[in-house]
Structure formats: structure tokens, C-alpha cells
């Protein structure tokens, strides 16, 4: 049962493997260049396990100690995970001990796969989620630690590699778009984010964006559910 789930889960994680290898290495190298031993990227990638916050945390560690600000920043940067949790509430029901690890390890990429995957009927759902989560975390931590160790030794031009994350979200967005009959939510996500980005700027647009998305979806509940009934 476990092996079967692993066989189905592994191919799904290959794009993440590539992306995490590049980005994780980049993060490790960045930490190394900032004067931290590989123990830092190792611990941070295992425990924080949230890419964008880990990059910001390097800045925090180099600045004067500011615990309150650190905590608020962490909450704001990671606030989108609240959405992921809400989306996975029912899918994670009844999975026993695995559930706690699944929630702990639910980064953007792991959520994307677990939320959008079509798991075959004869594959155990819990184990599928578990392997996806474990493999992704392993890729990330291994890459970050390796980056921290090899650090300055690397002499290839990797500029532009960070686009791998953008490309990944574009593909997931497109995949979701091709799957769904009703595009309102996708369009809301795009337009609200762009508008908030213009109004609030790159450093503070995420919180208003999320609030507006929830607000608009709340207002659209009746028409969207009516449409759903009509389509059936």
C-alpha cells in the first residue's frame, strides 16, 4: 500500500525536485555568502520550511534583534497558508497521525500537488499525501544544506534561475484553469492581486489581496452556487 502510493506520488514531485534543487541551492549559497555555516540552512529548511520566509529570515538574522517584528513578518508572509488549510480541511480528515505531518509540511508546492492531484481510486490517499510532503521536504532541505556546504565553490552563472517558481505557479494556474468550468475565482485571484500590487506596492499587498479575495468570493457565493446547480 505504501510502496504503491510512493510509485504514484514520486512522478508528481519531479517538477518540485528540479525547482527545489535550484532554489534550495540558491538559498544555501546565499546563507553561505552571508556568513552562516551550513547548519543554519539545514535547521531553517527543516523547521521553518517555507521558502520566501527563509530568504527574509536571512535579512532578519543580519539585523538587530527584533522578536515582535520577526513574528509579525512571519505571520504576514505565511498568511496564505491559512487558505491552504481551509482548502484541505476535508481532504485531510481521518488520516490519523499522518495528518499532523501533512499540516506541518504543507508549503506552497506540496499544497499545490496534494490539492490538485487526481489520485487513482486504488491508491491510499493518506500515504500519497505523506510521500509527496516527505519527498518535497527532503529535496528542499538536502538542496539548502548542499548549497550551504559548497557555497562559494560554485562558478556557474545561475542568474534568472529564480524564474522556476514563477513558471511552476503559471503551470499550476493554467492546469486549474483547464480543469474548471467556471473561471470567476481564477480571474478574481489575478485581477485583485494586480490591483492591490499597484495600490499597496510589492511589500504590503498580500494581506489586502487575501482579504479582498475572501470578500469577493463571499459576495459571489449565491451566483456561483446557482451556476453550479444549473451545470449539473
Amino acid at each position: 500500500m505504501r510502496i504503491k502510493a510512493l510509485k504514484v506520488a514520486f512522478p508528481q514531485t519531479i517538477p518540485i525536485f528540479t525547482g527545489f534543487w535550484f532554489l534550495g541551492m540558491a538559498y544555501g549559497i546565499y546563507m553561505n555568502a552571508s556568513g552562516f555555516s551550513f547548519v543554519y540552512p539545514l535547521c531553517m529548511s527543516l523547521l521553518i520550511y517555507g521558502g520566501s520566509l527563509e530568504f527574509v529570515a536571512v535579512e532578519m538574522l543580519l539585523s538587530p534583534f527584533a522578536p515582535l517584528q520577526t513574528f509579525i513578518m512571519a505571520l504576514l508572509i505565511q498568511a496564505r497558508h491559512l487558505f491552504y488549510g481551509l482548502s484541505m480541511l476535508d481532504k485531510f480528515k481521518g488520516l490519523g497521525w499522518k495528518k499532523y505531518y501533512l499540516i506541518f509540511g504543507m508549503c506552497d508546492e506540496t499544497f499545490s500537488i496534494n490539492c490538485s492531484a487526481d489520485i487513482p481510486e486504488d491508491v491510499d490517499r493518506g500515504w500519497f499525501y505523506f510521500w509527496v510532503t516527505l519527498l518535497n521536504q527532503f529535496y528542499w532541505s538536502a538542496a539548502a544544506t548542499t548549497g550551504g556546504i559548497v557555497g562559494s565553490l560554485l562558478k556557474i552563472d545561475t542568474s534568472g534561475i529564480s524564474f522556476v517558481m514563477t513558471a511552476m505557479f503559471v503551470v499550476i494556474f493554467l492546469e486549474q484553469w483547464l480543469k474548471e468550468k467556471e473561471h470567476s475565482a481564477s480571474l478574481i485571484g489575478l485581477t485583485v492581486s494586480v490591483l492591490c500590487l499597484i495600490v499597496f506596492g510589492p511589500d504590503s499587498f498580500m494581506v489586502p489581496t487575501m482579504a479582498l479575495i475572501v470578500g469577493l468570493l463571499t459576495l459571489l457565493r449565491k451566483p456561483l452556487e446557482k451556476k453550479e446547480v444549473l451545470q449539473k
Partner: protein, 108 residues
């Protein structure tokens, strides 16, 4: 920063992250039926969130300065085009990323 302060800083990052990941599951636990409104959100939020994450990745792209977001636009079109054509995640992601790296290193 002292070592203790560094540990506290990293610890707070962990705490902040885990709060956002565990909170929904703590509020709506297994024994209670998830309210219909939350089920509705769970169904429609992902599409909106993925749209948001695409924009989040592009947040530091300026249309008015530097390369005007042209390499990003081209690479996104390549990624999307490849995906509609082949529908193979890895090919689309690798193609788009290589396209962007080439543009950044040799053109812009």
C-alpha cells in the same frame, strides 16, 4: 545578534509559519462538520490563490523600469504555450525557466 537571539528569531519564524498552517485545522476539527461556507471557500479559493501566487512571484517586476517586464512576459508565454501544447508540467516549467535564463544572461 547572539546565538540565543538567533535561535529565538528562527524559533519565531517557525512559530509564525506553524500558526498559519495549523490554525484552520484547530478551529474546524474532525468531530465537527465543516460549515458550508468554509466548504464553499475551500472549493473556490485554490483557483484564486494560484492566480495570486503568480502575481506574488512577479511582484518586483517593474513595467516602467529596467527591462519593462518583457523577459517575464515572454517566458510566461513560452511556459503557457508549451503547457497547452504538451501538457507536461516538467517540460513547461523547464522550458520557461531556460528561456528566462537565456534572456537575462544574453539579451537583457
Amino acid at each position: 545578534m547572539t546565538l540565543a537571539q538567533q535561535i529565538i528569531t528562527i524559533g519565531l519564524c517557525v512559530l509564525g509559519t506553524m500558526t498559519t498552517r495549523f490554525l484552520p485545522f484547530m478551529i474546524f476539527n474532525e468531530h465537527r462538520k465543516t460549515p458550508e461556507f468554509i466548504q464553499y471557500l475551500g472549493k473556490y479559493l485554490p483557483s484564486a490563490v494560484f492566480g495570486m501566487l503568480v502575481i506574488y512571484c512577479l511582484k518586483n517586476v517593474s513595467v516602467f523600469h529596467g527591462s519593462h517586464g518583457i523577459p517575464e512576459l515572454i517566458s510566461i508565454l513560452v511556459t503557457g504555450g508549451l503547457h497547452i501544447w504538451k501538457r507536461q508540467m516538467l517540460i513547461s516549467i523547464a522550458g520557461g525557466t531556460i528561456c528566462y535564463m537565456l534572456l537575462m544572461q544574453f539579451v537583457f
